[in-house]
Symmetry: C2
């Protein structure tokens, strides 16, 4: 959809290209160039949002760090809110594809599968940055909180709840998520010991039964 545009050529800023070590080449075909530029903007946006939070990040700042013109960022993604949503959506891509892995299999092990999936996201540097960006931003900004509600509540929790055979399935999914959110806050965001340095397997062993209980318990 965004394969070819007027501003799709080498940018006028003259700033050096950034991210993934991909230098921009003038001779590349527009489609490839477009995909590469779009990805680089997204990578940069994630870093900026994670570092500064939603409010202090500007489209201009993202553009500058990515070595492109602000107009190109707006062209690809729209408003700052839409850049943010696109930037953090990648954090949930594994969740949404993994949800089948989470929900397939015995229901009495769904707690462990969900716990491992969420821990995997936080332990991986690739997804930890956008998750930090979401948390830092959603806590302080209503627009970013709205993105969190759409991505987490609508896309992730509602699908998990849909698999539970209980009238309060959504509340159950949220209580389970709350346990994970709280651990993420204490371990990865505020870094309180001993939880911050505890072995992931130890924590999973404690948390999975609780998540299971919230989802399928009495």
């Amino acid at each position: 959809m965004t394969g070819r545009t007027a501003s799709d050529g080498p940018d006028a800023s003259g700033a050096p290209a950034r991210g993934n070590g991909t230098a921009r080449r003038r001779g590349r075909p527009p489609r490839t160039e477009s995909a590469g530029t779009r990805d680089r903007i997204l990578d940069t946006a994630r870093e900026e949002f994670a570092l500064r939070g939603y409010e202090k990040t500007s489209v201009r700042g993202i553009a500058k760090a990515a070595g492109v013109d602000s107009a190109l960022v707006h062209h690809y993604f729209g408003t700052k809110e839409q850049v943010f949503e696109a930037a953090v959506e990648v954090a949930f891509a594994p969740v949404l594809t993994a949800r089948n892995t989470v929900l397939e299999g015995p229901l009495d092990e769904v707690g462990e599968r969900m716990t491992r999936m969420i821990f995997g996201l936080w332990e991986s540097p690739v997804t930890r940055a956008p998750l930090l960006a979401i948390v830092r931003s959603a806590v302080n900004n209503e627009i970013a909180a709205g993105v969190f509600r759409r991505l987490v509540a609508s896309q992730l929790l509602r699908r998990i709840a849909g698999q539970l055979d209980a009238p309060d399935a959504e509340l159950r999914a949220e209580l389970a998520a709350a346990q994970m959110v709280g651990i993420a806050m204490i371990r990865y965001v505020i870094k309180v010991e001993p939880l911050a340095s505890a072995d992931p397997e130890l924590i999973i062993g404690r948390v999975a039964p609780v998540v299971q209980r919230h989802l399928t318990g009495p």
Copy 2:
């Protein structure tokens, strides 16, 4: 200790007094005046930190809103970090006095007592503001995160852990706290439904057994 100082008289700013409807009276004895002013500065600081978070709040802004000179704020509390710590400490005062209530009584009901105590803090408007201030600030600022670690981890969790007869008592206390922190995030900060509007007793009924399990379970 701060009963009488050079800057303890009526302030020079001429701004109207704020908070609790206490108008400043020139004829009041210094000690009373001092206590009233100190409290008003603390109330204002809590509101400002809760509204703006740590980074965007300034001692100058707090002083202005409280109708006093910045020097007086520094005189009473010291640096911005110390103003913040004093402002949020009030949120933990009930916790620290309530800790005996939490820890006295049967150990197999400690989960419910802890859950009710934390919920009480979040449901009360008086303590919700400083709690929001702590969370919003700690997530985005390392200095504020340090205050959180000192107040929550050292003062609250370590005391709870001290009552548990287990080698991993601190980790247990943190996992229990994580459940509460996550619910606070989802219910009070990001406000995801249905948890945001659910009846407190319903949530307590779900959460207390989990907190209990973390603290004293196998």
